[in-house]
Subunit: 220 residues, 2 copies
């Protein structure tokens, strides 16, 4: 069957897929509504529609999960989104905090070969500007190991490999703090009271809230 989905359908699939990946469980109507910034009743309608098309599995009152067909569409939308982000940053020289909303539109362009040609032009990148892995042509995607800066022990060092939140405000904060992908961070102390962290970055010391540290992916 040939799927020609609306942007709305693709966005819902992406949301259900990514919440499912994050939580590993069936995805609730309210979780989807929150992510899609819409009302639960709208979600119910759309989930029913996607379910009728065989793209999600839904049990009334029990949440939804993407089927394998749904997953492959969601992954291909993610691939498109992330490749466009690479293009916007690497080729058009946008800053990493400017590209999310534009890529959100570009990801829905329908063409058999556009994304693959873009992939080739960009020399088959593995990660987007926010450190998210880019699925290959066949939908194979490497998943983040989900190690957050907030879980790093005092005295330990790590390298920033990604951001969980791609909002402009968060990314601008990181720019100002001198934090970007690949940067080495040493955790000096963690405050018991609010889990704020003292960090050493290139011999400068800064303090960040838990809100910040739990949105940064790092590796040892």
């Amino acid at each position: 069957m040939k799927f020609n989905l609306s942007q709305a359908e693709e966005n819902y699939l992406k949301a259900i897929y990514s919440i499912g990946i994050d939580t590993g469980k069936s995805v609730n109507t309210n979780q989807i509504a929150l992510k899609m910034k819409t009302k639960a009743s709208s979600v119910t309608d759309m989930v029913k529609k996607l379910s009728d098309k065989g793209l999600v599995e839904h049990k009334k009152y029990k949440g939804a999960l993407v089927t394998s067909k749904g997953e492959s569409i969601a992954v291909s939308t993610l691939r498109s989104h992330r490749l466009w982000e690479c293009f916007l940053v690497d080729t058009l020289e946008f800053n990493w905090d400017e590209v999310h909303d534009i890529a959100e539109q570009l990801e829905h362009i329908k063409s058999d070969s556009l994304v693959d040609r873009l992939d080739k032009f960009l020399n088959f990148p593995s990660y987007d500007p926010h450190g998210d892995p880019i699925p290959d042509k066949n939908g194979v995607i490497e998943h983040h190991k989900n190690v957050m800066l907030s879980s790093v022990d005092p005295e330990a060092s790590c390298i920033v490999i990604g951001v969980k939140d791609s909002s402009s405000s968060f990314l601008k904060f990181l720019d100002n703090a001198g934090i970007c992908l690949g940067k080495k961070i040493k955790v000096l102390t963690v405050e018991d009271f609010d889990q704020s962290m003292q960090l050493e970055i290139e011999s400068k010391v800064i303090t960040v809230s838990h809100q910040i540290s739990k949105n940064l992916y790092v590796k040892k």
Copy 2:
């Protein structure tokens, strides 16, 4: 006032603008319906909507014309479309017959700076792959002189500078006939009966119908 138009609205504006440029007269409902591949009643509805927004001037039963606000939106959509076509052909190496439909989607991406950055990346091209002039950042656009191959006299030579029809089938025909932008064509004879032309192109002689010759822009 800030205009945030739907893709449908932008497409109608583009259609009304370009038919208006071609004919120099008020644009009829049926002409728009033909171009938009829709019904006259749908056109009436949309024209009313655009008129309410001050983007077209409409007198009942007498056709429509874009206002200056409408024109500037139409021109900026054209600019976007043509720059994306350049990108698709020059950067992603699509053939010129593959890009129209994709650019038709890309032209509607909403971003303050995307098109200008694309323009810069492409080194401010003046013409798209079909020879159509690209409006500059301020909406200034050079118009074709509308000299068609069909109006060239026998024994005269000319250079192909554009195509009026950007359909894949026409462009594929041109590829097969060895006709591309910049190619020199000598008109040998014009048939009285059906206005078909004998052409000499790089010492090869071919015959083309009036349908073909009236869709090729040329210069002396």
